[in-house]
């Protein structure tokens, strides 16, 4: 018996990245903009989606993939709005991965404009898993506190947009929106910042316009 060292240099997320790359390529070719929504539990991802689909529904076709540890509750809320939704119950896993999205792929209508993927509520683990999305958005709600971007940097570093949600609570809680924005920009100078409230409707139109612009860009680059 002899000992032998071998060099490998293989990425532990390599297989996930490969599947995600395939998903992105196929969705982009169909002209579908996929959006991965990340946040801690209760930051308002489903409430934001409920408001967004009301704005987008007259002109665009969309569907939603809901990731949760247990229950169909979020998918039921989206279906109640007349939008197709799938629930992935991870049964304990703290994040969605590309393989889970890949399994649903054949059911995704090819004529969609937007595919929203609501990740499991968790500001840590989902940040490491590419799902094949074109855009990643992270929500930070007012009750969570304005110091989160530097405490959980990966979620903010890897996102294209930061949505500061529940702004209707700004006058009730000591949250400094400038600090949250600055922290977001420190860890990711290219991040686009939106301020929204699903209760009074603030900023939802602006965020919808951003998604429509991104959809146009994706289709222009296809043409």
């Amino acid at each position: 018996m002899k000992k032998k060292q071998i060099m490998i240099l293989e990425d532990l997320l390599g297989s996930n990245k490969k599947i995600a790359g395939d998903i992105r390529k196929k969705l982009t070719a169909k002209g579908i903009l996929a959006i991965n929504l990340l946040s801690s539990p209760g930051a308002g991802k489903t409430s934001l989606l409920e408001k967004l689909v009301e704005i987008l529904r007259p002109d665009y076709k969309m569907a939603v993939i809901e990731g949760d540890i247990e229950t169909e509750r979020d998918a039921e809320r989206i279906r109640a709005k007349g939008i197709q939704a799938w629930q992935i119950s991870t049964g304990g896993a703290c994040h969605l991965d590309a393989k889970m999205i890949g399994k649903l792929f054949s059911e995704i209508p090819p004529d969609l404009d937007f595919l929203f993927i609501e990740n499991v509520g968790n500001l840590v683990c989902p940040a490491s898993f590419d799902l094949g999305e074109s855009i990643r958005c992270v929500l930070l709600s007012i009750p969570e506190g304005d110091d989160k971007p530097k405490k959980y940097p990966k979620a903010f570093m890897t996102s294209d947009a930061l949505i500061i949600s529940k702004t209707d609570l700004l006058n009730k809680l000591p949250f400094h929106i400038e600090r949250a924005t600055q922290e977001g920009l420190d860890v990711n100078p290219k991040i686009k910042v939106f301020k929204t409230s699903a209760v009074d409707g603030t900023g939802i139109n602006e965020f919808a316009r951003y998604l429509i612009e991104e959809l146009k860009k994706l289709r222009c680059s296809n043409a």
Partner: protein
Amino acid sequence: MHELSLIANLFEIMEQKAKEKNAKKITYVKLKVGALSGAVPDLLETAFDIYKKDTIASDAKLEIETVPLKLKCKECDAVMEKDDLVLNCEKCGSTNLETLAGTDLYLEKMELEVD
């Protein structure tokens, strides 16, 4: 705690490489963990110890090297290591930076017992 899924991926790679080399045992494994890889070294070690039982790597020693976040400025070409999470260039202030290292998680090498 997604470290267990990462370690499951690691074992898939390890077992495949060991098979290719006709190895009887894996005795040593070295990981390179980026400071912003999103994985915690202590949790990777715990997950590795749980996972290795009854595998070809049941006696393997795990070594983890942490890799700092390393960036290159696309404007002035300065290369810097960052731990303050303010991602602009130390020299010229530009935010147009390229990541060179520190965000990935790699199996660098391993030691095998072969006939």
